[in-house]
Symmetry: C2
Subunit: 432 residues, 2 copies
């Protein structure tokens, strides 16, 4: 089999140009490993005249992505446009309808439309691959789909957003406030001008929903992910967690609880003995716990031109080799929807932090509300005066039902003693 | 494709029974993921009467492994006998000659005969898979062969022997002597009665040679691995490394230096900022640095029934799916032998520890020998009296050629001041 795999690239931003650069630089090696060459037969992007730092003259240009799907000399379309719907989705549908395999780096589209696209691909015996959509250059999709394939996965979780992890670890290192670190991160290009997608957990939730479908064989359910981000975390929270032997990390966490699917993106207190506590900066890491493999962890760069291109081209090599196997490990037609677990029924320790007025009786008021909701306090970590004269009050609960913790906070919501909404984070445990 | 993949198991020790247990327990899920069932059609082991804790009555028994290769209803033979040669090798050759795919957990056999077997398998268009041979349950073979396939790998290295890592981290935690920790490890089954294979680096070298062939596409060269183990490491070395911000880990390290292959198993001083410094206990971890992916790390359990069975069955699922691709990523017929790099030409910092007599002039004698060999000393870390009245003297060199460090020690070898052979370890750096 020496006929080349002929690909069309849609979107020539950072990732698209990275893919071209990679294929040009590592082409001979790729041909050896794939058993045949991978050649770029067509490209398409919005602006033909933009200087992308690479010579595109050798590659036939098309003004619309849709035109790529009509080329007889294209075996596989690579989508690097982005966005859950619109052009990218239209391209995915048209490519598969035209009998072409499809590779994408688009986590939003897979999170929202992965089931539909997987069914179409499998019905047509075509490949649909998306290694670059989750955790950038880390081959975690292949790690789960192929590497851990013999296991029932007990839970899958990890650090899925590099921007948030960068901000948290910078706050940890320097003790700076969230807003200041966010501004620094924006200045050096580690955070977008509009950072909500990253710091509010949506990006991590897209990736989590994909990992979850792959791990549990249940229908992908992005809407079922409970999402919370890192905007309300203060440097004092990080310091107090540290005093307890924990680091704060934004985790995506998915597991099956009594046959129900639990999926959440939330800042967690991660014990220092856990490998995720040592993942710093923009690095991503995914943990999968299998019933035979035990705990596996995959870590590396979660974004960037090189890592993302590495993942895209690895998918192309798989396709060139004639790799079989389904999109999400389990055939899409067999992936049933799964009832959602009630997170409130989960039992564990929580970290709760209040900002309160500095006056007598406040602690009694708070502890009474917690007692009334059946939440007992393991330790009151510390109280600390803010520059505004308020007091920060942090505590860790004993194992409690999460709904009871929330009930205690609801009872306090109208209290004049609280000067801001309390912040709740869960402590990562082996049962979490 | 619903015809089952019919397998024969040779060897029913821990791993073999683990494979049966896994297939029985996760069978329905495996059938979904593989697209067809995996069934055990034949088994063979030395002792039919031994109680293995599982019911073998459903599986046709054969007294010799060779008989498995003659069964028409066997598609794939799984070898879990062990040993580089003898029965295991004969079985591999016969299986491939009989047109059966072959899966093995046998690192010694692949390290010694991998090239021959790969050529035979590829010539016959058969699968030869060995995920369980390296790093137990961690899917690092697939991680390199499929996940990082688009990259030129700059270097591959890691913690490849769980026993050694367990001993080193126990010494680190408790400050105990090597011999005491080894005895404890033997008592709880973490080290063999004859521990040489693990603690002298041979086991790690087998795995390193395999990773190296897979990463660089050069002929597998186990004989070319320089090997040193951990027997001579003292608790004081670990303490002094720690004071410098390093942890001592037995690493396998391979890279291509100016077109020459460098492979070494050696204790290294790993900086605390490096993810390998946080791998404790019997855990394994492999780092691959790709020219596009950047640094990838894979970690998990390096041994044990469950993890090893997980790796073996993942290989079987690949084969059941009809997975293509070559044994070592590069076709075996194209893997040329590679000239070996001279480790002495490598430049870096070294840690050197002497045990010397406590008398005037010793330090002058040592530092003069180092000066004469062009080795300059960055820091004299500490001198410490032993209970026998000797003095431990540890130092870190500036960047030096390794052969010069060895030359300085050779010049001192007949010195009456030295009471034991000096210990040299290298500091892991980004160039190492």
């Amino acid at each position: 089999m020496t006929a080349p795999l002929r690909i069309a690239l849609a979107g020539l931003g950072t990732v698209g140009t990275g893919v071209i650069r990679l294929i040009e630089e590592n082409g001979a090696m790729i041909e050896q490993r794939a058993g045949r060459p991978i050649v770029v037969s067509a490209v398409s992007a919005r602006d033909r005249t933009r200087d992308r730092g690479i010579d595109l003259s050798a590659y036939p240009w098309f003004d619309t992505p849709a035109a790529l799907t009509e080329q007889a000399d294209v075996d596989c379309v690579v989508e690097m446009i982005g966005g859950a719907d619109g052009t990218a989705l239209e391209l995915a549908r048209k490519s598969l309808a035209a009998g072409k395999s499809f590779v994408t780096a688009n986590k939003a589209m897979i999170a929202h439309h992965g089931m539909e696209l997987a069914k179409t691909a499998e019905a047509g015996n075509l490949s649909l691959r998306y290694e670059a959509a989750v955790a950038g250059g880390i081959p975690v999709i292949k790690g789960l789909r192929d590497g851990a394939s013999a296991n029932r996965i007990e839970r899958v979780y990890g650090i899925l957003n590099g921007t948030s992890n960068y901000i948290l670890t910078e706050m940890e290192k320097h003790g700076h406030a969230f807003d200041d670190v966010l501004k620094e991160a924006q200045a050096i290009g580690y955070a977008e001008a509009d950072p909500g997608f990253d710091i509010d957990g949506v990006d991590a939730a897209h990736k989590l929903a994909i990992l979850s479908a792959l791990s549990f064989g249940k229908a992908l359910d992005f809407e079922g992910v409970e999402i919370d981000g890192i905007r309300n975390i203060m440097a004092a929270d990080i310091g107090q967690a540290k005093a307890l032997g924990y680091r704060i990390r934004l985790l995506g966490m998915a597991r099956i609880d009594d046959g129900k699917l639990f999926q959440r993106v939330n800042p967690y207190l991660v014990p220092e003995s856990h490998p995720l506590a040592h993942i710093d900066g923009a690095t991503n890491a995914v943990v999968a716990e299998g019933n035979f493999s035990g705990r596996l962890m995959f870590q590396g760069a979660g974004a960037g031109e090189g890592p993302t291109a590495s993942a895209v081209v690895a998918d192309l090599i798989d396709i060139a080799r004639g790799d079989a196997g389904t999109v999400f490990a389990t055939p899409a037609s067999q992936m049933e929807p799964c009832e959602r677990a009630e997170s409130g029924n989960r039992v564990g320790k929580s970290y709760v932090r209040f900002i309160v007025a500095d006056r007598p009786g406040v602690l009694a008021e708070i502890t009474a509300a917690m007692r009334d909701a059946d939440v007992s306090i393991e330790s009151l970590i510390q109280t600390e005066k803010t520059s505004e004269g308020s007091v920060l009050l942090s505590m860790v609960t004993h194992d409690s039902r999460e709904c009871n913790v929330l009930k205690s906070l609801a009872a306090l919501s109208s209290s004049a003693s609280l000067q801001a909404a309390p912040v709740v984070m869960h402590l990562l445990s082996d049962q979490d």
